[in-house]
Symmetry: C2
Subunit: 267 residues, 2 copies
């Protein structure tokens, strides 16, 4: 099954556009093993999400054992829930092939994030895995996203809009999506209008301060779908005590409801 169908199935089954970012930070967790922590978060939230998104940085910071923990975490996620490898990779063609193999074959992610700075041949190896999803960074959620992404091109469009147009052009297999931060609702609206049918991965809610209602309203497609609202820290660290899993579940449940209440009635 393609990534997009797996995503839509899970989102409908769980009535959820919420994605939980599995970004374990030992300083903010209860004192316990990271794998046990991840498993408890997954057990507590798997019926409330449309996807899980581990960011590889937090595993790489732990060295080779971190990658083992990531592999074991992925093995614990129910097979019908899509996984997004947030790696933001980008390299020349020959090397991009190795990264695509790392994320899609070795780790087995259903989708991955990629950085567009190197252009088409850095993305090509990823989209060649036609059953996987490829989320191209477009307008990121961080404060200095403006440094380059807002630069204006000669035709008057910004760099991030140019990336959105190019991603549409590259989307031969229909498996490209875009990453757009919830912290920039107006930019999100513009990107959704450039790519009305694409899946958008939307981080920036919660710890980063993005507004949930506008992220949902501007992010979803005409059917009220194809938006993935990612929340990491707000859910993972809802409590630092022994009740962290229950607290994570309660927070995930609340955010899922808030998202659904922003959708038009037909959903």
């Amino acid at each position: 099954m393609s990534f997009i169908n797996k995503l839509l199935d899970t989102a409908r089954r769980n009535q959820s556009l919420l994605c939980v970012g599995l970004d374990p930070n030992p300083d903010r967790m209860p004192k316990m093993g990271i794998l046990d922590f991840n498993r408890a978060i997954i057990d507590a939230t798997h019926d409330l999400v449309c996807a899980y998104k581990p960011n590889l940085a937090f595993y790489e910071a732990l060295g080779s054992q971190g990658l083992t923990i990531l592999e074991q975490t992925l093995a614990h996620i129910p097979a019908d829930i899509p996984t997004i490898g947030d790696a933001k990779r980008g390299d020349i063609g020959n090397t991009a092939q190795a990264y695509a193999r790392a994320l899609f074959s070795t780790l087995g992610f259903d989708a991955a994030t990629v950085n567009p700075y190197l252009g088409f041949d850095s993305v090509e190896a990823f989209i060649g895995y036609q059953d996987r999803g490829v989320f191209v960074l477009c307008r990121t959620s961080n404060p200095s996203a403006t440094d380059f992404q807002d630069l204006r091109c000669p035709d008057g469009s910004t760099l991030y809009e140019t990336v959105a147009h190019k991603a549409r052009e590259w989307n031969t297999y229909g498996n490209i999506g875009l990453v757009v931060g919830a912290t920039y609702p107006e930019e999100l609206r513009r990107i959704r209008s450039i790519c009305p049918g694409m899946c958008l991965l939307i981080p920036g809610i919660g710890a980063q301060g993005g507004d949930l209602a506008s992220a949902v309203r501007h992010g979803v497609d005409a059917q009220g779908e194809k938006a993935i609202i990612n929340v990491s820290r707000q859910i993972l660290y809802a409590s630092k005590g022994g009740d962290f899993a229950e607290a994570a579940r309660a927070t995930a449940e609340r955010i899922r409801s808030q998202i659904n209440s922003c959708l038009k009635p037909k959903r």
Copy 2:
């Protein structure tokens, strides 16, 4: 010792601007373990190089054991030769901290490559390690580098020139360098003129077809230094037979001589 001093020391000692890219591809190697292959390449070339640059993609493609091989490869590189982790990472501040920790603390690289698409806060965590080098992607060596890097900004400069200017502005600690492909000699010349004192990491010679003479002439600073000419495949796979290490050494020796013959006589 800072990265730049370690680099200059090694380059002077070995009379070399050549960096060997340790990018093992099992399909192109003799039938043997990757760690043994890497160790043999290092043993055969360590007196001919100014640095080693493993690209993380080739290790990640092997899963968690790949990271162990990378750690063991780094342990085999003589301590006085600088190592550059070619990872091209770029993420929001909180996550960039985890990537910087992964590359500089966990793996212990002397320098790393980073992607500028997310702007300053994605680079900040890296340059905070003031004794390490941080190479910002500027004009990459691949054919589709033109997709975005050549876009013109309102002031008439291209995106890659804007990145070079920003990198200069960000360079408070003097540890920022730029990645510029040898496949674009004119762009290399322009970048060197924008950043006359910065260290440039120059891939694209060899398998990618960049011209060595213009890469050296346009890449070095006024003292004929601070250019790192990277070659990977042409050296690693100089022979697929049992003589691969001797062939790698002979090729590295030849390229080092070619580089030195392009330098002005005072070197």
